[in-house]
Structures are given as structure tokens and as C-alpha cells.
């Protein structure tokens, strides 16, 4: 604020300050050169004055003109004068001007040496700071030679702020005066271990720059830098150090080995960043890059890390960023070719999840899985738990469950019954056996339609031949399923031999589709009468019971059955906990569709399977892309698809624009493609709200709130037109009025730098901070994003309250748009009515009587004609609008009282007869009374 004050005072002393100059230039677009030449003349005059403030102001303006390309070298000496000022304010301007305008051939630089030396040793760290900053821009070999020692001393200054700057500027000094390097180097090296991170990073910067020029000399610092690299968390410093090592490693090959570990750590940090970076637009590209790294990666740990990252990135927020699931399946399939990974289970669960939840992808997924089964021998190299063979679990299940999509089911069935399968882990074999049975059912169905019945029998024979291998399995689950199914097939074969059609019945064994269930689906099912869901069925288990040891089931997670005593009341906490647990359970269960914006659909009221939402996919990409490593092709396809879409969009836009040519539509800048522009190949469910083409005019709403008591009158000013609406005045002690203004931004642009200013009258003045001039505006202490309102309070000093007041004011502000900003001004009037100085004060009738008896009050009266309202409404209106309280009311007569902020008593006697109201009033201040009565009259004339 204080700065404002001074600017205000300078305003009146000088012709122009910097702001005026800038404004002037902007207003003289036509004859800019002429305007500036008059300004330069003025500046020359100002520079001739003795007053340093005037000079500094002139120099500041010159700095601006210099940027615009005008020659200001003639003022170099004046700049030095301002630099030498003892006041920081001017010194700062002087040094800024010098750093902008001086260069090596500026001759006055010679004159500055002593001044700079003095500033460098100033007790004020900011004096030293500006000197160092300035010096960094115009240091010459002479200055470097003369000041090297001073700067070197500053490298050990007590303030890190100075040390940091001194260290950095040493680099400039070394360049200009290389002899200084040798004596300064030990101290510089010391700064690498400075306790302040800023100084440390400055030292790293300087040494890295030096080392780049001559790496050999800095090899001895490698251990120190290595330590810094492993301990520092500052990315800026890390990047510099890594660059330095890049220069050092060719000279010392042993360094390379040492660097592997810390660098890998850094890479991991980078990978974490990726997670947050992906969008629909760049996902494919990023994953493609990661896949390249996967191929190149040495060491399984790093490769596994990449693998989990890829899956994390793709599956985050419910596959939010995947626009093409075929691509994703291909990526998963490609990942199965990694040898020695420990994340087979993760890949498998992703395959299952996608195949189940994305219906349209099933045919494609099944085809891919069939290929995997066929080539299972490639995957069985790694038999350990969680090895890549886990994906066969998913493959077998998907092929079995969705076998209707298989192109060649017999081949897949055969693949699933190969002897080699018996070497797979038990739980996978079990799935194989079960799904072989499902496949068998599908195959039979296909074959029975044919005239040749031997094919079906052959299939049965295949089952009977191969299954005994599994019956012998050491794994109980496998054994049990295998023997059960073997017997079933034998029975089927018998029937087949009697030419009985069995396919229908066999398929019935596996009928029913497994559908994903929406998380809220259960809610649609009405609770049967008489069922209390909160009641305990069994006694609850004891707390100590451990659930960790539950064996992992394959097809369904068994719910542990608890028994608890009958509880009719369950506390909120418990309910919340259970809800949370259930959510967790659902989140982990692939058969649930999780709540996500993309799956929001209109639910219909009728419950039923048809209405359970399944992710619907609209395929606009051909389903088959031949060849195995396919994800790249998808990237290409996706690119083409987007291009096509974009082209279509452009066409549409063009059309739109044509249609709009008649309106005032603003032409939209077609900037880079944004995230929203990309529609996924599979399913689009983004609701876009059309924004109105034409921005509304800015509306700023003022209103005035009373802080202490009720209301009075409110006046609001709208821009561009004035309108009256509710507003309240506010009163505090005798001469102060606090006005609360609510600023509401009704336009689409950002408003900032608001300045509230009122033209004071003799009687009423806006209170400004001490020292500021009588015409300075007050900065509104906030900014307004579109649609936001906020309140600011302004205090006015009022001398006399007997007359109403109207104050003129302006609000200036900057309207900031996407790519432009304009300075706007808004005029308004502030209306202080006399009633706004009244405060509702209760008064007892005896005190009221005493007041009237005292004889100090002067009387006045007014008659209102044609008032057509009940008496109590009339009174309420006076109370509400004019801050009176009713003292007593007898029939159609009432006495009322109010008090002004300066202690004037106002008494009314209101009588009504028919449509005429007469008000007799008394007050110790007749002018105030007259005005209040006028305002009351006005209130009733409006109704």
C-alpha cells in the first residue's frame, strides 16, 4: 500500500510516471514515435533536476523505452547517478537500468567500480543483492579484475542469499578474468557442501559449467558429486550433475558402473511421473515407448517394474484412458512374451477383467487367447508361482466361457488337453479341465447339426483318451473335476452310440451368461417384506478369529460364515466399515462394473438382466489385425481414425461458422488438439455443455450490507446500465460508515487488479490508508474468476449526517481473457440516504414520553395520501425501510422511535384514517428529520 501512496504523491509532482508513460504509448498507437519523442524531451528535463526521486522516475521510464528499441545510451551517466543513491528504491531502479542498458563498450562503467564495491559491502543484504544482480549483466574484464576479491569474500557471507549470488556471479568473473579461478576454486568447492540448498545448487551449477569446458580438471570431484547425486532431492541439481557425469564418464570408465544404481532410481521416479501424465491422447504413444524399453531392458527387476507400470497406467481409473481395447489386449498378449516375469498373475487378471467387462471385445480376446493356448509351450518355461504361465489360466477360462466366439473350437480343445498341460501348476490345470468341458459342449453343438455323427463321437473319444491323465493328478481339485467330467463324457458317448442327441443337454450344464453387475444393481431389487437386513442371522465371531489362513479358492471366494448374537441395532460406524469392505470387495471383483463416469447410463426402473449395464462398445475399427506384434498397428489405426474424426469435425465447424457469420460469434482459435477432442473408438460418454457463443457483458453488482443492525436501503449499480436493487447501509461509531460491497463477476472472463475509488465530498470521505492522496483508489484485495462473488469493505468518514449524500465513484479493473486483457472502467454512484444513518433502537414508552416532554425536539409533519394497505403493514414498512421501532400502538395510531449514529432522537406519531396517513415527527435536528420524512414519503409513493 505504501508504494501506492508514493506513486500517488509522485503523480502530482511529475508529469508522468512509468504507468502513465505506458498508458500514453498505448493510447497513441497512431503517432507513437512522436509521442515518445515528446516523452524523451520531458525525461531530459526531469534528469536535469536535482531531486533524485525525479531522476529515478525518469530512468525507470528510460528503461522501458530502451526495451521498445529507443536509444538511451545518452543517459548512461544519469543511470550511474541513480545507482549511487543511498535509497534502496532508487538504487534498485538504477541497477536495473544499468543491467538493461550497459554493455562492454559503455564507457561510464569505469566510474561504477567504487560504487559497486561500496554496495557489495553494504550492511543491507538487498543492496548487495541488487549490486550482484546488476553486475552479472554488465561485468567487464576490468570490473571482474577489480572486484574479484570482493566477490570472493562474499562467497563466505553469513547470509545464504548473498552467498548464492556471489557463487553464481563467480562464473561470470571467471569467464572475464580467468586468473581469478585458481585462488577462488577451493572456496567454490567448499560451497558444494554448503548447508543451504540454494548455495549448494549454485555451486553445482558453476562447477558443472566449468567442467563442461574442461572435464579433465574436475575428475577429482567425482566422489563428491556422486555423494550429492545420491543425497540430493533437487531435480534441477540432479540434472546438472548427471550432465556432468556424462562429460566425466568417457574419461573414467569405472564411473559408469557406479552410476547404474542411482540412475535406475531416478528412472523409477520418472516412471511414477508417467502415471499422472497419461491422457487419452498420449496413452498409446507412451505405452509404445515403454514397450520399447521393456524389449531393451536388461535385468528382470527393471523389466517387471516397467510391466507393472504399463498395466497401472492403462488400467488406472477404470481404464479411463483406453480408447481402444483391442490395442490393450494386444499389449497384454505382447507382455506375455517376457521371460522370467513375476507378474503373470497381474496380466491374467487384466485379461479376464477386460474380456468380461468389455463385451464387444470378446470375440477378439477369445481369438487371441486361443493363439496363446496353442502356443502354450512358449509360456511354460517358467513354472514358478506368479510366473507367466498364469496367463494360461486366463486364456483357458476365456476360451471356455466365451467358446461361442471360437473359430476353431476343436483345435483349441485339443490344445487344452495336451499332455504337456499336466506340467502346469494345479490351479491352472483345474481351470483347463473345467473349461475343456465347456468347450466340449460347444463342439458337440456344432457337430450334431451335421449329418456325419462320427465327428461328435470322435470328440468324445478325444476327451476320454486325454482326461485320464488329469484323473491321475496329484492335485485334488484337478483330480476331482477330471474324474467327474470323464464319467460324464463316457455317459455321453454311450448315448451318442445310441444316436441320441445330447448337445442341448450338455450345453445346459454351462448355460447362463456371466454378466458384470453394476455396483448399485442390488439397490434396484426391492427388499422382501419382513426381511430385516440389519439383523444378525448368526452369532458374530470372536474378534481373535483369523481369516488369513483361508485357502485361495478358484472360482468363487468363499464368504466366511460368521455367527453372532442377534443384534437389532448396528451402529453407524460398523455400517460404514462394512460398506467400505464391500466396496473394496467389489473393486477387486472383476464381475462388478465399478462406478465410473463412463458407465453412467440411464437406469430403467424395471429390474432385470437386460438393464444391467455392460460397457457397450461401438466398434469402428476392423476387428482383426493380422500378425502377432500388433499394438503398433493400433497406434497407427488410431492415428488415422482421429485424423478422420478431426477432418469431420473441421467440416462441421466450417459449417457452423458459416451459419454464424450473421451473428456476432467470435472466431475460435483452433489450437492444438485438446484432450476433449478425442473420442474413444469404443464408447463415448462425455457430456459436453455447449457454452454460449457470445460472452455476457460484465456485470458487477455492488451492494451494501449493514454490519451491525438490520438494513436500510440498498442501491445496486449494474454495468453497463444502472439498476436499483437491494442494498443496505451500515453504520458504526459517530462518524464512520462501513460499506460492504459485494463484487460479482457475471462475465466469462477473469477480473483482477480491481481498484475502488470514490470522489470524496466535503462531507463524506473514503478512508484511505495513511499517507495516500485524496484521489487514490483502494485496491480490492481479491480477484474474481468468472461467476464468483466476494465482499470487500470500505470505511467512509461522514461529518454531518443530516443530509443525504451521493458520491460518484469508479471501479477500474483488468478483464483477462484467454489471450488478451483489457483495462476497463466502471462508474457508479454511492447513495447514502439519511435513513441509512438511523439505527433501530428499542425505546420504552415512558422514556419516549419523557423525551417528548423535554421540549428539546422540534416538530414537523407529513401527510401521505392514497396509502392502500393495512396499518400493520404500513408500520412494518417504516420499521423495515427506515430503521424505526414501534414504541406503542393503539388502534390506528402508533408511536415509533429511532436513533441516528450521532445520537439524534427521531420520534414519530403515525395515524391513519382511510387512505390518508399523517405522520407527526419530532427530532432534535430538523434538517435530518425533514430528510427522513422525505425518504419515508418516497417509500410510500413507490407503492
Amino acid at each position: 500500500m505504501a508504494l501506492k501512496i508514493v506513486k500517488g504523491s509522485i503523480d502530482r509532482m511529475f508529469d508522468k510516471n512509468l504507468q502513465d508513460l505506458v498508458r500514453g504509448i498505448r493510447n497513441h498507437k497512431e503517432d507513437e514515435a512522436k509521442y515518445i519523442s515528446t516523452c524523451i524531451d520531458e525525461i531530459k528535463q526531469e534528469l536535469k533536476q536535482d531531486n533524485i526521486a525525479v531522476k529515478a522516475n525518469a530512468v525507470c521510464k528510460l528503461t522501458y523505452l530502451q526495451m521498445l528499441g529507443y536509444d538511451v545510451s545518452w543517459a548512461a551517466f544519469n543511470i550511474v547517478e541513480v545507482m549511487s543513491s543511498s535509497k534502496f528504491t532508487y538504487k534498485r531502479i538504477g541497477y536495473l537500468a544499468a543491467s538493461q542498458c550497459f554493455h562492454e563498450s559503455t564507457d561510464v562503467i569505469m566510474l561504477t567500480t567504487n560504487q559497486i564495491r561500496k554496495d557489495l559491502s553494504s550492511p543491507n543484504q538487498y543492496d548487495t543483492g541488487v549490486a550482484l544482480t546488476g553486475l552479472s549483466c554488465f561485468v567487464t574484464p576490468d570490473l571482474a579484475r577489480d572486484l574479484a576479491n570482493d566477490i570472493m569474500t562474499l562467497m563466505s557471507h553469513t547470509k545464504p542469499y548473498i552467498r548464492k549470488k556471489a557463487v553464481l556471479i563467480m562464473y561470470k568473473v571467471f569467464l572475464k578474468y580467468p586468473e581469478s579461478l585458481r585462488p577462488a576454486f577451493p572456496r567454490l568447492k567448499e560451497k558444494l557442501e554448503d548447508p543451504d540448498p540454494g548455495v549448494q545448487s549454485a555451486a553445482v551449477n558453476v562447477i558443472c559449467e566449468l567442467a563442461r569446458r574442461n572435464p579433465k580438471n574436475y575428475l577429482s570431484l567425482a566422489p563428491l558429486f556422486f555423494k550429492l547425486m545420491t543425497s540430493s532431492t533437487n531435480n534441477w541439481v540432479l540434472i546438472k550433475i548427471i550432465k556432468l557425469f556424462g562429460a566425466l564418464t568417457p574419461l573414467e570408465p569405472r564411473l559408469g558402473k557406479k552410476l547404474i544404481e542411482p540412475l535406475t532410481n531416478l528412472i523409477h521416479r520418472a516412471l511414477d511421473l508417467l502415471y499422472g501424465m497419461v491422457s487419452k491422447k498420449n496413452l498409446m504413444e507412451i505405452v509404445k515407448k515403454l514397450m520399447l524399453h521393456v524389449d531393451k531392458a536388461e535385468g528382470t527387476t527393471y523389466r517387471d517394474e516397467l510391466l507393472t507400470k504399463i498395466i497401472d497406467i492403462c488400467s488406472q481409473s477404470n481404464y479411463q484412458y483406453i480408447t481402444n481395447f483391442e490395442w490393450y489386449i494386444s499389449i497384454l498378449v505382447e507382455l506375455t512374451r517376457l521371460e522370467g516375469t513375476r507378474h503373470g498373475h497381474l496380466i491374467a487378471s487384466q485379461m479376464l477383467d477386460v474380456a468380461i467387462r468389455v463385451k464387444a471385445i470378446r470375440a477378439f480376446a477369445v481369438a487371441q487367447m486361443a493363439t496363446l493356448l496353442d502356443n502354450a509351450h512358449l509360456l511354460t518355461g517358467n513354472m514358478q508361482r506368479n510366473g507367466i504361465c498364469e496367463v494360461l489360466y486366463a486364456a483357458a477360462w476365456i476360451c471356455g466361457e466365451f467358446s461361442e466366439h471360437l473359430e476353431n473350437p476343436i483345435q483349441t480343445l485339443e490344445a487344452m488337453l495336451r499332455p504337456k498341460v499336466a506340467t502346469l501348476p494345479g490351479h491352472i490345470q483345474a481351470v483347463y479341465v473345467q473349461n475343456a468341458a465347456k468347450l466340449f459342449a460347444t463342439v458337440l453343438k456344432g457337430q450334431e447339426g451335421n449329418t456325419d455323427s462320427t465327428a461328435a463321437q470322435e470328440t468324445s473319444q478325444l476327451m476320454i483318451d486325454r482326461l485320464p491323465l488329469f484323473v491321475q493328478s496329484a492335485n485334488l481339485e484337478v483330480q476331482e473335476r477330471a474324474s467327474c467330467i470323464l464319467q460324464l463324457v463316457k455317459y455321453i458317448q454311450k448315448l451318442q452310440q445310441k444316436d441320441v442327441e445330447v448337445a442341448e443337454e450338455v450345453s445346459a450344464l454351462f448355460a447362463g451368461e456371466l454378466n458384470p453387475v453394476a455396483p448399485k444393481a442390488q439397490k434396484k431389487v426391492p427388499v422382501p417384506e419382513g426381511l430385516d437386513l440389519d439383523a444378525w442371522i448368526n452369532e458374530p465371531p470372536s474378534e481373535s478369529e483369523s481369516e488369513d489362513e483361508q485357502p485361495k479358492a478358484i472360482f468363487a471366494k468363499e464368504e466366511p460364515k460368521h455367527s453372532r448374537p442377534r443384534h437389532t441395532e448396528v451402529d453407524e460406524k460398523e455400517l460404514a466399515r462394512r460398506r467400505e469392505a464391500r466396496k473394496q470387495e467389489q473393486a477387486n471383483n472383476p464381475f462388478y462394473i465399478k462406478a465410473s463416469p463412463s458407465s453412467q447410463k440411464v437406469y430403467q426402473d424395471t429390474p432385470g438382466v437386460e438393464h444391467i449395464p455392460v460397457v457397450q462398445i461401438d466398434l469402428s475399427v476392423p476387428l482383426k489385425v493380422p500378425g502377432m506384434p500388433m499394438s503398433d498397428q493400433y497406434v497407427k489405426l488410431e492415428e488415422e481414425r482421429r485424423q478422420k474424426e478431426r477432418a469431420e469435425k473441421k467440416k462441421k465447424e466450417k459449417k457452423k461458422r458459416k451459419e454464424k457469420r450473421s451473428g456476432r460469434g467470435k472466431k475460435q482459435d483452433s489450437g492444438p488438439e485438446s484432450e476433449e477432442d478425442i473420442t474413444p473408438a469404443h464408447m463415448v460418454d462425455i457430456v459436453t455443455e455447449e457454452m454460449p457463443e457470445n460472452a455476457l457483458p460484465i456485470l458487477i453488482l455492488f451492494y451494501f450490507l449493514s454490519v451491525n443492525i438490520l438494513l436500510t436501503e440498498m442501491i445496486a449499480f449494474f454495468w453497463p446500465s444502472f439498476k436499483v436493487c437491494d442494498i443496505q447501509g451500515n453504520l458504526q461509531d459517530g462518524s464512520q460508515v462501513v460499506v460492504s460491497v459485494i463484487f460479482e463477476n457475471k462475465c466469462d472472463s477473469f477480473l483482477k487488479s480491481m481498484e475502488f475509488n470514490v470522489l470524496d465530498s466535503l462531507n463524506s470521505k473514503l478512508q484511505r490508508p495513511e499517507g495516500s492522496g485524496p484521489h487514490d483508489g483502494l485496491t480490492v484485495p481479491f480477484q474474481l474468476p468468472p461467476g464468483v462473488s466476494n465482499e470487500a469493505r470500505f470505511v467512509f468518514t461522514v461529518q454531518s449526517i443530516v443530509m443525504p449524500q451521493k458520491l460518484k465513484g469508479t471501479l477500474t479493473f483488468i478483464v483477462k481473457n484467454e489471450d488478451s486483457s483489457t483495462h476497463e472502467k466502471l462508474d457508479f454512484k454511492l447513495h447514502f440516504t439519511c435513513t441509512s444513518y438511523l439505527i433501530t433502537t428499542p425505546c420504552y414508552s415512558d422514556a419516549f414520553a419523557k423525551l417528548l416532554e423535554s421540549g428539546d425536539l422540534k416538530g414537523s409533519s407529513v401527510r401521505l395520501e392514497g396509502v392502500n394497505m393495512p396499518f400493520h403493514h404500513l408500520l412494518a414498512r417504516i420499521c423495515f425501510h427506515h430503521h424505526f421501532s414501534v414504541v406503542e400502538r393503539i388502534d390506528s395510531c402508533a408511536s415509533m422511535y429511532s436513533r441516528s449514529i450521532q445520537g439524534h432522537h427521531v420520534c414519530l406519531l403515525v395515524k391513519t384514517s382511510g387512505q390518508t396517513v399523517s405522520i407527526d415527527a419530532k427530532c432534535d435536528e430538523p434538517t435530518l428529520l425533514g430528510n427522513v420524512l422525505d425518504e419515508i414519503k418516497q417509500t410510500f409513493s413507490q407503492c
Partner: protein, 156 residues
């Protein structure tokens, strides 16, 4: 870094900072050339370009282009990061900064830049520290202004 330029979409220079000594004539030529080159580039084109023996890194924020020239061994990405950090600093200091802020308070924009970069090298990587230093220097400026007001008080 060799220099930094801020210019508007109309090609008006808003701020320039030179970390290498060059004559006014050379500076003018360089900035004119660069402004033309960059303004002619399409929005989707790369933010980096090779220019003479330097690398130019630029980025557009609303109506302003921020452009830096670095040597060919320097990292473009960190330069981009420096630009962004400077914009963040301006934004914090002015509160949602816009071009007008920089035009009307161009000396402040320089002061902020000087606290952030020195001699073309990042001197302070902590946003908090930069702003703290600026605030304190502003405070100092106001104090010295106030004391000078006492001297002018006869004017009022």
C-alpha cells in the same frame, strides 16, 4: 542461458534480459529475427529450434511468448522448466498474471527474474525463497519510500 525475451503475439517486446554482452544493434537484430521466426511457427510445432549456433526454447502462455536462447550442450527440457517456473513465479506474485501486469510493472517482472536467474543460471530453485526475497526487497523499498515522503510532506 544467453538471453530471455518476452514478446506479445503482435511481436511487441515485453521484456528482455541479456546474459551476454552485446551491442544494442546486435540485440535489436537478434530479437527482431527471433520474434519473426517464432511468430511464424504453427501452434503444433516443436518448442525447440536451432537458430544460428544456439538452441531456442520457447513457449506461449496466453498472449505472451516466452523465449530463451541456450547453448547447444544445454538441456532444452530444463530450459522449458525454467520458463515455466518463471511464469509460475509471476503468477504467484501478481496473482493470475496477465500481459498487462508485465507491461505496467515491468520493473517488478525484472526483479523477479533477477532473483530467479543470475547470469543466465538458475540461482534459486525454491519458489518460496524467490518470492520471499522479492517481498522483503519490496518492503524495504516501501520503507525507504515512506521516509522520503516525510521529506515531501510540505507539498501536501
Amino acid at each position: 542461458m544467453q538471453f530471455m525475451l518476452l514478446f506479445s503475439r503482435q511481436g511487441k517486446l515485453r521484456l528482455q534480459k541479456w546474459y551476454v554482452p552485446l551491442s544494442d544493434k546486435e540485440r535489436k537484430k537478434i530479437s527482431r529475427d527471433l520474434v519473426q521466426t517464432i511468430l511464424a511457427r504453427k501452434p503444433k510445432m516443436c518448442s525447440f529450434l536451432e537458430w544460428r549456433d544456439l538452441k531456442i526454447v520457447y513457449k506461449r502462455y496466453a498472449s505472451l511468448y516466452f523465449c530463451c536462447a541456450v547453448e547447444d550442450q544445454d538441456n532444452e527440457l530444463i530450459t522449458l522448466e525454467i520458463i515455466h517456473r518463471y511464469v509460475e513465479l509471476l503468477d504467484k506474485y501478481f496473482g493470475s498474471v496477465c500481459e498487462l501486469d508485465i507491461i505496467f510493472n515491468f520493473e517488478k517482472a525484472y526483479f523477479i527474474l533477477d532473483e530467479f536467474l543470475l547470469g543466465g543460471e538458475a540461482q534459486e530453485t525454491s519458489k518460496k525463497n524467490v518470492l520471499k526475497a522479492i517481498e522483503q526487497a519490496d518492503l524495504l523499498q516501501e520503507v525507504s519510500m515512506l521516509s522520503s515522503i516525510d521529506g515531501f510532506s510540505w507539498l501536501f
